[in-house]
Subunit: 339 residues, 2 copies
Amino acid sequence: MSRPLPQKRATVHDIAAAVGMSRGTVSRVLNGGYVSAEARAAIEAAMTDLGYVPNNAARALKMRRSQAVAFVAHEPHSLFLDDPNIGSIMLGANAALSLADHQMVSLVVESARDNERVARYLSGGFVDGAIVVSARTNDPIIKVISDLALPAAFIGHPPDLAQHIPFVGIDNVGSAVAITEHLVSTGRRRIGMIAAALDRDSGIDRLNGFRDALGPLFDEELIADVPHYDYGSGVKGMRDLLEREPGIDGVFAASDAIAAGALEALREAGRSVPGDVGLVGFDDSTWAVRCQPQLTTVHQPAKELGSCAAQVVLRQLSGETVETTRQLLPTPLVLRDSA
Amino acid sequence: MSRPLPQKRATVHDIAAAVGMSRGTVSRVLNGGYVSAEARAAIEAAMTDLGYVPNNAARALKMRRSQAVAFVAHEPHSLFLDDPNIGSIMLGANAALSLADHQMVSLVVESARDNERVARYLSGGFVDGAIVVSARTNDPIIKVISDLALPAAFIGHPPDLAQHIPFVGIDNVGSAVAITEHLVSTGRRRIGMIAAALDRDSGIDRLNGFRDALGPLFDEELIADVPHYDYGSGVKGMRDLLEREPGIDGVFAASDAIAAGALEALREAGRSVPGDVGLVGFDDSTWAVRCQPQLTTVHQPAKELGSCAAQVVLRQLSGETVETTRQLLPTPLVLRDSA
DNA sequence: TACGGATGTGTGAACGTGCACACAGTAGGA
DNA sequence: TCCTACTGTGTGCACGTTCACACATCCGTA
């Protein structure tokens, strides 16, 4: 079980000794300060010569900063496969952190074991802050962040038990209202919804927005309830709706993937889109432009969500007090061919 | 620019002082050793009381081990969006590392800036090893890993300049041969290929396998060369092939996404699949079962690639010398409806 | 000449941890 | 009685870094 120690690497002492100076001067070359041109040149030469790389662990220990920010993704299994947004959120966050010369490290939480280990990791000083995507309510990670006052930002699921932790998201209710009103404005009257993930607030909010926007046109019978935001759920949900109400002329799918599945079911049933049925999605993911016809949908600013959350964490790191604890990003409607 | 130091946290000293014992005893309850039952109880009580969490940075500095392994993903923009495999590879790696109580940290490389920062990160002692996905030939990260003798494993793209670094992948040539032979066995004679990513070895190998398998049936005219493994490339490539050879009756698409695009182009052109044209893909991704008809394809063992690479790194970490430096995982054919 | 400031360099301490070692007490066997 | 083995605890040092401080030198000016 005992492991061999890794290869010994050059330290500030080694290069100081190599050029006959003290470690202080070497440190000054690295971090700024008064150093003569000759000394600097000699030290830099020795550094490349001995292949010196500063030890992050030692630096983090002394400085109490690691220049790293965690990106914690929950249940990525479904996220990676069904929701193309998680990748864009990551890239947005990475870009923003990169500009501030911070390293983004993504941590995947799939099991209880992962959860505990990630919580330990977050509290151990390897990261200065965290961006947390779609955590569940009673997540131990929320507790750790709250207890340690770790600079953090949540995306996609506000942490109800720790109201002081900043949150960045979209207005699911408002977006659902807007896209539903679009359906109505195109003359549809028997409008249904394929509602998904009603155990998450994103799913609930989209359904609520749909109900609000429809008002008297709303019919409980025209809600198909499916578990996930994926293609298969879309196929099933649409078949369900068609069976219940053959005269349906408008459908709001809770995601683009669902809409793509619905499109397939409509094709099976011989219905044309947008001729017979107007169909709208949610996300503006790659699904939206792959479909035939292309989807009218709600643009989800995934990249911006990521970079915005990163900014929030970086601001906390630089000592600013973050005032706006809940921030909602705009979600423009994207009008294409499906409705 | 100067930042406030994070909140002071309890250390071994603090809890030792709290119970009137020495730090050594505290260390022993953490890491094992002779401790009396009363002492252990008192110390554990003080730990939860003061909210003690061990400092990873200090531990890593002292132990020269961080219990963390990096997962480096290159150009994730295209990977996350077009290739659903990267997510599965990550999850496979995470599961294997998790079992060995190691933390997987994913690092995204998108820009030259990222590249440099990640290289620094890898060499700084925050991770004990690295899993690298699809690195390019002259990648500075390869150099760092090689120079520091960092335990590592490559996936998807063997590091040509550092032959001693272990590699886990699939036999692209053999897989392409197998799936092409399947096409031939179903009676197709005018068989084309939509070849993609011919700047990567995966793309080149798949084309070579196709050529080898076809033998005298091979026709250079029936190769459509597209840049990426994505849907749009598939549409374009298939239109191209149809224009060049209207009598084409078999197509090998270099990926499932490409095959899905090809399916769309074939539908446009009024060709039925598999009636008029036999179509096969590569990857066995979610695309394969979404298509109508479902795709016959090559199963890419994404999860296994990840876990296998993780095992290789873990073995190096435990001091074993890794003998098999190049390891290819089996890629069974998945026969569905498209050919 | 003396003095203050700017420039350049060395030294000691500290960050929080784990481990080797030292030490004390007890028990058992020669 | 002494020696050894085992249990339990305390102490010093090292990991590699940064920073405050001390010290040294040089220059310009009063």
